[in-house]
């Protein structure tokens, strides 16, 4: 109980990932959908760092860096698209984005 092992971190990562997935499925506002994807990426980062520490291997930390870089570029592009959409339509509701009639 008092000794923190790899399983503790993996369980925490699972819980955070589940919270993020609930957010992705539940939210209709696109901005809050982006927030939920940030939670997903962070949950995976914790798992990477924990595995890197408990196996004495730096590869996990390297991939955590790349995940952070991807999150940053995703925010830049996604927010730009969101601003353009909001200027045109005045809403960022997911259910109203049906221009492709998919």
């Amino acid at each position: 109980m008092m000794e923190i092992g790899l399983n503790h971190y993996l369980v925490l990562s699972t819980i955070l990932f589940a919270i993020g997935l609930v957010g992705v499925m539940k939210r209709k506002n696109l901005l809050l959908l982006f927030f939920a994807t940030e939670i997903l990426l962070n949950a995976v980062n914790i798992a990477f760092a924990a595995i890197s520490h408990y196996y004495g291997d730096l590869t996990g930390q390297m991939f955590a860096f790349f995940v952070i870089a991807i999150a940053a570029s995703e925010v830049a592009v996604g927010l730009g698209l969101l601003i353009v959409w909001f200027k045109r339509h005045g809403t960022i509701d997911l259910d109203l984005m049906t221009s492709m009639k998919g």
């Binding site: 008092m2 923190i4 790899l6 503790h8 971190y9 993996l10 925490l12 699972t14 819980i15 955070l16 990932f17 589940a18 919270i19 993020g20 609930v22 957010g23 499925m25 539940k26 209709k28 506002n29 901005l31 809050l32 927030f35 939920a36 940030e38 939670i39 962070n42 980062n45 914790i46 798992a47 760092a49 595995i51 520490h53 196996y55 004495g56 291997d57 730096l58 590869t59 930390q61 390297m62 955590a64 860096f65 790349f66 952070i68 991807i70 999150a71 940053a72 570029s73 995703e74 925010v75 830049a76 592009v77 927010l79 730009g80 698209l81 969101l82 601003i83 353009v84 960022i92 509701d93």
Partner: protein, 191 residues
């Protein structure tokens, strides 16, 4: 002892903050809670000995990403309550838990079957930042450069998408010019 206390404290705080992010109806509360959760996550990195990753987490996530979201929210109507999807809650929670457990299985099965070999062992005599630099600029140099190009592309995309009409300055224009621009804009937006 202290490690366990810190782990449980920050685990509770992180889960609480992220729970607020996915359940609150106010977009500003979600933003603030997300920023707080990011800082609490960096505590785990410091506990795990990944000092550089923790500092990057604070700088990039809380400093850059959250600030970008905060500035982006100026464009949106965030005072309105956020509407939610009306779906079956049990299906949502069940599916999410199932997917998360699957992810953990994917990560942990190679470790259970002892297929992991430490390719880049952590050296004892140098610090974390130094060893990160050694690995990043030898084995992972190409992914590092590709990530730099990806960030450049994202920056250009952000400027092109959000920066329309940036050549006009509202503070240097006279009143009539602004009125003309508003009429012009309304025509264009509606088309």
């Amino acid at each position: 002892m202290f490690e366990a206390v810190a782990f449980y404290l920050f685990a509770f705080l992180t889960i609480a903050m992220f729970y607020i992010v996915v359940t609150t109806k106010q977009a500003l509360y979600a933003l603030t809670a997300l920023a707080a959760g990011m800082i609490f996550i960096s505590a785990f990195f410091f506990i795990l000995g990944a000092d550089f990753l923790g500092a990057i987490q604070i700088i990039v996530y809380t400093g850059a990403v959250m600030a970008l979201y905060a500035f982006g929210m100026m464009f949106f109507d965030t005072t309105r309550d956020v509407k939610e999807k009306q779906g079956n809650k049990y299906i949502i929670v069940g599916l999410s838990t199932l997917a998360a457990v699957l992810i953990v299985l994917i990560v942990s099965v190679p470790m259970v079957s002892d297929n992991i070999v430490a390719l880049y062992p952590v050296a004892d005599d140098i610090g974390n930042v130094q060893s990160v630099g050694l690995v990043l600029f030898t084995k992972y140099l190409i992914p590092f450069e590709v990530a730099a190009i990806m960030l450049l592309v994202a920056m250009v995309a952000g400027i092109v998408l959000a920066g329309k009409k940036m050549d006009l300055s509202l503070t240097l224009m006279s009143g009539e010019e602004i009125e003309d621009m508003k009429k012009e804009k309304n025509k264009k937006v509606l088309s």
